[in-house]
Symmetry: C2
Subunit: 437 residues, 2 copies
C-alpha cells in the first residue's frame, strides 16, 4: 500500500483527555477515532492490528478444540431474569426497550445466552466435554470511560464457555484454557502472568486474571519474580502436564491488590524476589460449576440416565483492549515497535526524494513490487516530505522494519533498519529472508 492512499489521518494536536501513551499514540497515528463518549471507530491502521490479534486468539482457541460460533449483541432480558443477574448487573448494563416494549439489553457477557443455546441442544453426557467460543462486540455503560480503548463502552471480546459432566473434568477444560491463554499472549509478544483473582459478577470460586506489566496499569501487582521465568513451552498438551503447569504457576506468589495479603507475601517471597508494580488485565478465566446451569435448568443425562446439571466455566480475552496493552508494553522514548506477528505492515520503504528528483521513489517502487510478489505486506512512503519528518512519523506508526532508499542504498544493496537498532546494508534477497523468518 502507498502511504498517500492509506486512510491514516495523522493528528498533531492531541486531545487533552488522552492521558496514557497508548491512547495518545492511537489518536496520533489515526488508529482510532472517538465517535461518542467511550465509543470508537477503528480506522484502517488500528483495524489491521486488531484483526491480527483476533486471528491469533482464534487459532489458539481452535488449537485446544474450542469451536467458534457467534451470539448476537442484543439479548432478551428473560434469560438474565432466569439466572438472577438482571437486577444485580446495575447501570453498566445497557438496557433497551424495543418498539413492542420488550426489555432487551446489549450483552456485556454471554453466560446466560450460551447456557440457553446449550440446554436446548445437548441432552447427553456423550456430547461432552465441549468448549464453545465467539468473538463479538460487547457493551458496558461505563460511568467514566477513559484511556481510549483500554476502558471504553463498546469493546471487542473473545469469550469461551466450557461444559463438562463433573468438577474434575471441568478443571481439565480450565487448564487447557489457561495454557491457550499463555500461548496466545506469548504469540502477541506479551509476557502475561496468571494471578489468582476475585470472581466479581461472573461468580464461582476459581479464577485467574492474566496481567501484563505496565506502569499505566490499573491493577497493583505483587509477585515473586520467579514467575517470570516459567517457560510455557516445556509443557505438553495432555491433562497431566497441564495440571503440573497450573500448579507450577499457582505455587509461586502473584496477586493483584484485590487478593494481596501483606503477611503472606512477606512470608512466601524473599525481599530480593519481591516485585511490586502495576499491570493491565488482558484476560480473565472463571470456573463456576452450576451457577448458571442450575437456575436455568441446563441438565444432561449422565451414564446412568440420571439428570445432572452441566458444569461450566467462562474465559475472556479483551481483543480490542489488547491493542492498547501491546502499545503500553512496546512504546518507549517516542518509538513504537509492533511485534512482528501483529504489525500492520511487514516492512516500510522510505525513499528520500523531492519533486525535482524522484529517482529514489522510482527505485522504491521497484523494490515494493518485488516484495509484494513474495506476499510481503509492504507500506511505501511516497509522501513528499523531508526524511527527518518521515523518520519521526514512522517511529510512531511502528512498522518494525524499514528499507531506506537514500544515499546509503546503492544498486541492489539497500539500507535496512530494524527499529531501535542501527541500520545495515543488505541485498534485497537477504532482506527478503530476514522478513520471512
Amino acid at each position: 500500500m502507498y502511504l498517500s492512499q492509506l486512510f491514516i489521518p495523522l493528528i498533531k494536536n492531541l486531545p487533552t483527555e488522552a492521558k496514557i501513551k497508548s491512547h495518545q499514540l492511537m489518536i496520533r497515528t489515526g488508529m482510532i477515532k472517538q465517535s461518542s463518549s467511550g465509543i470508537y471507530s477503528w480506522l484502517p491502521l488500528g483495524f489491521k492490528v486488531m484483526k491480527k490479534i483476533e486471528q491469533i486468539v482464534r487459532e489458539e482457541q481452535n488449537h485446544i478444540g474450542a469451536q467458534e460460533m457467534l451470539m448476537p449483541t442484543i439479548q432478551s432480558s428473560e434469560i438474565w431474569k432466569e439466572s438472577g443477574r438482571y437486577d444485580d448487573y446495575g447501570d453498566e448494563m445497557l438496557r433497551i426497550k424495543d418498539r413492542q416494549g420488550r426489555e432487551m439489553l446489549y450483552g456485556p457477557t454471554n453466560e446466560e445466552l450460551i447456557t440457553d443455546v446449550f440446554r436446548s441442544s445437548v441432552k447427553s453426557y456423550k456430547s461432552l466435554p465441549q468448549i464453545l467460543y465467539h468473538i463479538q462486540w460487547k457493551f458496558r455503560d461505563e460511568i467514566r470511560p477513559r484511556f481510549g480503548v483500554m476502558r471504553c463502552k463498546e469493546f471487542y471480546m473473545k469469550d469461551a464457555y466450557s461444559f463438562d459432566i463433573s468438577d474434575e473434568d471441568a478443571k481439565k477444560s480450565y487448564n487447557k484454557m489457561f495454557y491457550s491463554y499463555l500461548k496466545t499472549f506469548s504469540r502477541i509478544g506479551l509476557k502475561a502472568i496468571p494471578m489468582s483473582a476475585a470472581t466479581g459478577p461472573i461468580g464461582g470460586d476459581l479464577s485467574h486474571e492474566f496481567i501484563i506489566l505496565a506502569d499505566t496499569g490499573e491493577s497493583k501487582i505483587f509477585a515473586d519474580k520467579k514467575i517470570f521465568d516459567i517457560d510455557i513451552n516445556k509443557y505438553k498438551f495432555d491433562d497431566a502436564s497441564l495440571t503440573r503447569m497450573r500448579n507450577d504457576f499457582t505455587n509461586i506468589y502473584a496477586a493483584t491488590d484485590e487478593k494481596y495479603n501483606k503477611d503472606e507475601f512477606n512470608n512466601k517471597v524473599s525481599k530480593d524476589n519481591q516485585v511490586i508494580t502495576k499491570g493491565i488485565e488482558v484476560g480473565h478465566i472463571f470456573y463456576f460449576g452450576d451457577k448458571y446451569s442450575k437456575p436455568m435448568n441446563c441438565f444432561i443425562d449422565d451414564k446412568n440416565g440420571k439428570k445432572i446439571t452441566v458444569k461450566m466455566g467462562s474465559y475472556g480475552i479483551g481483543v480490542s483492549r489488547l491493542v492498547a496493552a501491546v502499545i503500553e508494553a512496546n512504546y518507549n522514548n517516542d518509538v513504537m515497535k509492533w511485534p512482528k506477528t501483529i504489525s500492520p505492515f511487514d516492512v516500510v520503504i522510505i525513499p528520500s526524494f523531492t519533486k525535482n528528483n524522484t529517482e529514489n521513489l522510482r527505485k522504491a517502487e521497484k523494490v515494493y513490487l518485488e516484495l509484494k510478489k513474495q506476499n510481503i505486506d509492504v507500506l511505501l512512503d511516497d509522501v513528499d516530505e523531508n526524511m527527518s519528518n518521515k523518520f519521526k512519523k514512522h517511529d510512531l506508526i511502528g512498522v518494525p522494519f524499514q528499507i531506506i532508499i537514500g544515499s546509503k542504498s546503492e544498486g541492489d544493496n539497500l539500507e535496512f533498519k530494524e527499529l531501535n537498532s542501527t541500520s545495515e546494508i543488505l541485498s534485497l534477497s537477504n532482506i527478503k529472508s530476514k522478513l520471512r523468518i
Copy 2:
C-alpha cells in the same frame, strides 16, 4: 473434524414459523438458533459458511482498492439529527437511552458516522478518491421479522462508502463497486442481476439492487432474459471498460415491481425473452452526491483552494442474508449442495460400520489424516447409525463431496461421490486432486 464432536444440534421437529426452505434447513442442520424474535445465534456450521462468504466479500472489496475499517454498532443521535434522518427513520431504528440519559441508537446503516469520520480526517482533494468499508452488525427493529436470517433484526452487513470530488469521478467509483458486486456473487456461486432501483431512506437518484432469482423472493422481477448471458469476465478493470459494462447491463430491461412499467417492458422486450419471476435482494448500491456531506459540512479544498462538498455513494451487501439466499438457490428435492467456495467442509467421509465391526471406521480415520495433511478440511461421520440415515443427514448438511467407505471401497480405491451425481471409484490421490481444483 469428527461429526460426534461437532456442535451441530440436528433438529427433527421443525418450528411452525419456518416457512421458507432456507429457514427450515438452517434450523434442521443446527446452523442457527433463535434467541429472541428476529435475533439468532450462529452455531458452528452456519458460522463457518458465513465467515467464508465474508472473506470473499472482503477480498473483492480490497481488490478494487477499498480499505477496511470498523465503525461501532452504537451511535449517538446527534449526527442523525445533523443529517435530518433521526426523525425520518421511524420505528425501525432501535433507539436507546444510556445511563446518563443521552439519546443513542443501534446503527441500521452508517452514512452519518462515516461522514463524521471523513470530515474530521480529510481536508484536501489530494486524498481522493477514497473508498472505505466495514463488515459489522446492524439492527433494524422489524415489526414482523420472518424467514429466519432473511428478514431478521440483527444482521451482518458489508457497507462501503465512496468519496469523490465530482459527480463524474463518483460514477467511476460506482462502476467499480458494481463490478466488485458481480464478481463477489459469482464467486459465491450466485447469478445476481443488477436492477435499477428506488433509493428509499438512503436517498439519491442513482441506485441498483442486485437480485438473485428464487421462488421465495420478496421482490417480483421483470427482465429480458438476455441479461443472464452477459459475461462479467470480458470486462477489464479500467474506467472505460467498466462504463461499458454498466451500460451493457442497464441497456437491457430488468426491474423489480417498484420500478416496473408494463408498457415499457412490452415495448422493449419481445414476448419470448420476457422473464417474470421472483428474486431476493442480496446487494444494493446508491449514489447520492452531497445528500449527507452538505448538511453535515463535509467539505474539502479543491485544486484552487475552494471549499466543495464531497460526493458520496454507499454500497451494501447482506452477508448474513446471503447464507439464506445461497440455500434458496441450491436446496432442491431434499438435497442441499453448498458451492465449493463456501462449503462448511471440503469433503465428508462416511464409513459404514457397527459397534461390532469398526474396520471401515478405522480405514476412514486413516483417509481423514491423509487429507488433513493436505490442508483439506474434512468432516468424518463417526456416528454409529445406519447408512441410509447418514446419507439423508448429509443430503441436508450439504458438503458437496463424499468419500463412502463401504463395500465398494477396496484398498486404496475409494467410492467418491459428488452430491446429485453418481459415485465413482477413485484412488485417494485422484480424490485429492479433484478436491484441490
